[in-house]
């Protein structure tokens, strides 16, 4: 039985139809949960939508929330393309904030120098931090899932230590545990007046084509994909799997770290002791939903941004817990992970829906 949508080329099916169907089904599953709590799903979803979109400020806030998801999603996706499951985006996020904020409060330079310098510092920090996990894998065979999870804790505790210890990063002029405020020149400018939407959104929009270019049009990206698809063949062709692994983890970490510093320079302007933001873990879902395609990261990140942003309004309006969005996210991932369900629902022929790649599958099974 052929349906009208089987006329679409494979990439449309894989990148648009299947994720869209997964999202719709995800909302459907969550609706059952809402009904189970005695509330009305249509009311809840209406409030969720209102909270995320229905006025300039709400929409701006949705975009604000989506900014870290873009960088983190790109980072995790790039890891997937190299066959690596970077589950440490959360930790690299903090390392990025830490190393970037240090530059941003210590130096007094014009904005055009200070902002790029802070971001570069953050990227360098994230590169080294995640690259270390890559090194452990390349040199000792330590699985990156284990090492990056462990390094998450290291980064939280490191951040707390640095931020609360006098003589280190603690602001000497206050009793609250926090770093000094960043130099005003380091703050990312607001791009929509009366909102919190800052220039980090523009950076995110630039990062997407750059990462696409890196993966698809450079020799580095080619090495990374070759190793991700088939390390044996890459190695036999003279590509160093070890170097590529370190590099891919490093770049992945640098992107995750950018999320951290952009959040700090754009919103907080200071760093306080780390509490798990959850961003790093949601980012895995963003990358999965986008099928590790850089372009698709944007809509995926915006969806997560909207859920994140609309959830509190939904709770306020309808008393449906904002934790409900976790159910939406989780069921979306289940449907992405089980393409057979979508294939069956849409009556697509075998082969039209690409199976989830090995590392992504690994990601799904271990999340």
């Amino acid at each position: 039985m052929r349906r009208w949508w089987s006329i679409f080329p494979g990439w449309v099916i894989n990148l648009v139809i299947v994720p869209a169907a997964s999202v719709v089904l995800g909302f459907g599953v969550a609706a059952i949960a809402i009904v189970a709590t005695g509330a009305d799903p249509s009311q809840a979803y209406l409030a969720l939508f209102q909270g995320a979109f229905t006025n300039t400020n709400a929409f701006a806030e949705t975009l604000v929330s989506s900014i870290p998801y873009v960088f983190l999603g790109l980072g995790v996706a790039l890891g997937f393309r190299a066959g690596l499951f970077n589950i440490g985006a959360e930790g690299q996020f903090y390392i990025g904030s830490l190393s970037g904020v240090f530059v941003a409060y210590s130096l007094h330079l014009p904005a055009l120098l200070l902002i790029p310098l802070s971001i570069l510092a953050a990227m360098a920090g994230g590169f080294l931090y995640a690259g270390f996990a890559g090194f452990l894998k390349a040199r000792f065979g330590a699985h990156e899932v284990i090492t990056t999870i462990m390094l998450n804790y290291v980064s939280f505790l490191l951040a707390n230590y640095l931020v609360t210890t006098p003589g280190l990063m603690l602001d000497p002029h206050t009793r609250t545990p926090r770093t000094p405020y960043i130099d005003p020149n380091a703050a990312l400018p607001i791009i929509i007046p009366q909102s919190r939407l800052h220039a980090g959104f523009l950076l995110a929009l630039v990062a997407i084509p750059l990462v696409w270019l890196l993966i698809n049009r450079t020799t580095v990206g080619f090495r990374l994909r070759a190793v991700g698809y088939n390390p044996g063949a890459a190695r036999a062709a003279g590509i160093s799997v070890a170097t590529t692994t370190v590099l891919a983890m490093g770049i992945s970490g640098a992107l995750a770290a950018t999320a951290g510093i952009v959040q700090t320079l754009g919103i907080q302007h200071v760093m306080t002791p780390a509490v798990a933001s959850g961003y790093g873990f949601d980012a895995i879902a963003v990358a999965l939903l986008a099928r590790s395609n850089p372009w698709a990261i944007l809509p995926a990140a915006m969806l997560f941004g909207a859920l994140h942003n609309g959830a509190s309004f939904m709770q306020l309006q309808t008393q449906v817990s904002s934790d409900l969005i976790s159910i939406v996210q989780a069921s979306v991932i289940v449907f992405i992970a089980a393409p057979a369900i979508i294939r069956w629902l849409l009556r697509l022929r075998e082969g039209q829906v690409a199976k989830v790649a090995i590392t992504e599958r690994e990601a799904i099974s271990s999340v």
Binding site: R217, T218, T219, V220, F222, R223, R225, A226, Y229, N230, G232, A233, A234, R235, A236, A237, G238, I239, S240, R349, E350, G351
Partner: protein
């Protein structure tokens, strides 16, 4: 006499591909029925239908006179159908007896495996059919030939009366093949039936009572070894007359291009796999390595390629010592390698043909400037190679995974020969490749030899080694036990040497 198995009009499609297109087959009790065809002809699909691994779109299966529906291997086993896959389904750390009873354990008291009885039953079965196995030995300690016997016993233990053997000789020595054929004879003498899947003509002529030839999902003909010659069978398989022998002129060897001196290499378990090998390959000659798989050939190839460190000894390419050089540097100094395992090492199925053709040179000009790839140069180069090496594909952008095995292998061959190397190490260059592509790949290798290429050929297909090589080195347990030339190259003699017999 009732037929053991009758298939009527079996159709199985995968998308656009008609893997089985109305196949009829009748196998009789007490007979060896060979199912002959190239890779992709539909043999395996047909047998998967019989064994319940896939369901046909239409068609009838009649087993021992009764129409049956087979939903899964459990159904097949219950009926008395057994299958020995090309890749064994054994658990290496468990013993022979444990593997055989796995899934059908005898327990006494309930819940406790009665290995005593199991061992006795296994011994009885093995004596009855002349299938000698040590019931208490661990699988991992046994040779491939013995492991295969365990697989056969496993099927018999489950009550198989119709036994399907999928390419059973691929991993055996000539002597082990003789042993297998004896076992097959014993089995059918007791009234069982055997379906023997193969693409090797010689074996069909030797062991089969009846032959069914398949091509592109259809049965081309039913025949017997008495009615058809090997040349007839080859023509039926391929659809056109085939040269069974490689035509080549006498070699004119020049300078030594590849030299291996006292090479010692470890395998993954740190055991000596290559044990002091000396070899040299001259320009304009093909040196074949004959040996049963797993006697150090892969480690030797990897050590020459730079993928595995040499514990001691040297590798020289064009007179330069490259023992400590990386794989990349060797590939860029005149060495080309066709790796033994196409899917693990040869090509990246997900990438386009073009990317696979430049897998070793993607970061060199003109394919890249600084870190930016020049895709136009890559695609132009790929288009030229696709034409030159007759790769049947829609174009350079087609994913390599959608090509047939033969065309995938041509991609590897094109990449390796396209750089005009000094030395070619060709490991299993035609494994899993159709007859047409085998012919083409052999032709390319011989032509390049005539132009001065030094070729080291490693193959577990003895026929391939015999027909291409100017000299043959026989390896056994990591050592070169003999190097034969000209008249000395004799099938039986090599077979004995491969099995560890002393040089006659």
């Amino acid at each position: 006499m009732t037929a053991a198995l009758e298939l009527r009009g079996i159709v199985k499609t995968f998308g656009e591909l008609r893997a089985n297109d109305g196949v009829d087959l009748a196998v009789e009790w007490g007979r060896v029925h060979a199912l002959l065809g190239e890779n992709g002809a539909g043999k395996s699909t047909l047998m998967n239908v019989v064994y319940g691994l896939t369901t046909p779109d239409s068609g009838e299966i009649v087993f021992d006179g009764r129409p049956v529906v087979i939903h899964g291997p459990q159904d097949a086993i219950r009926l008395g159908i057994g299958m020995v896959h090309q890749h064994f389904m054994l658990i290496p750390p468990l013993t022979v007896a444990e593997n055989i009873i796995l899934g059908q354990e005898i327990t006494s008291p309930p819940g406790v495996i009665d290995l005593e009885t199991a061992g006795r039953q296994v011994s009885e079965l093995s004596q009855r059919y002349g299938l000698e196995v040590p019931p208490r030995a661990r699988i991992e300690s046994l040779s491939v030939g013995v492991q295969q016997r365990v697989e056969i016993l496993k099927a018999l233990y489950r009550g198989a009366r119709l036994l399907i053997l999928d390419e059973p000789t691929a991993v055996l020595t000539p002597q082990e093949i003789k042993g297998l054929f004896e076992i097959i004879r014993n089995l059918v003498a007791e009234g069982n039936a055997v379906i023997f899947i193969t693409h090797k003509l010689g074996e069909v002529m030797e062991v089969a009572d009846a032959i069914t030839v398949m091509r592109r999902g259809k049965v081309v003909d039913h025949t017997t070894p008495q009615q058809s010659t090997p040349a007839d069978l080859a023509r039926m398989m391929v659809g056109r007359p085939v040269l069974l022998r490689v035509e080549k002129k006498p070699a004119h060897p020049g300078d030594v291009r590849l030299e291996v001196k006292g090479l010692v290499v470890h395998d993954d378990r740190k055991q000596v796999a290559v044990d002091g090998v000396d070899l040299d390959v001259r320009s304009g000659e093909i040196v074949g390595i004959a040996g049963v798989e797993g006697n150090g050939q892969n480690e030797l190839v990897e050590a020459i390629s730079g993928l595995r460190p040499a514990v001691s000894g040297q590798v020289l390419i064009g007179g330069r010592d490259v023992t400590r050089r990386s794989a990349k540097s060797r590939l860029h100094s005149g060495l080309s390698v066709i790796p033994p395992d196409r899917h693990r090492q040869g090509v990246i199925l997900e990438l386009p043909i073009a990317d696979n053709l430049v897998l070793e040179d993607f970061d060199q000009p003109p394919f890249a400037r600084w870190i930016l790839r020049n895709l136009r140069a890559v695609f132009d180069y790929a288009a030229a190679l696709i034409k030159q090496f007759d790769i049947r594909a829609a174009g350079p952008a087609e994913p390599t995974g959608s090509l047939s095995g033969g065309n995938q292998q041509k991609v590897v061959v094109a990449r390796e020969l396209g750089t005009n190397p000094e030395v070619l190490v060709a490991a299993q260059p035609t494994r899993g490749v159709d007859v047409g592509s085998i012919e083409f790949i052999h032709r390319q290798i011989v032509d390049q030899r005539d132009k001065g290429l030094a070729v080291l050929l490693v193959s577990s297909e003895l026929d391939e080694v015999l027909s291409l090589s100017d000299r043959v080195a026989v390896v056994y347990r990591g050592r070169v036990v003999a190097i034969l030339e000209g008249e000395e190259i004799d099938r039986d003699r090599i077979g004995l040497l491969m099995a560890g017999g002393a040089a006659a």
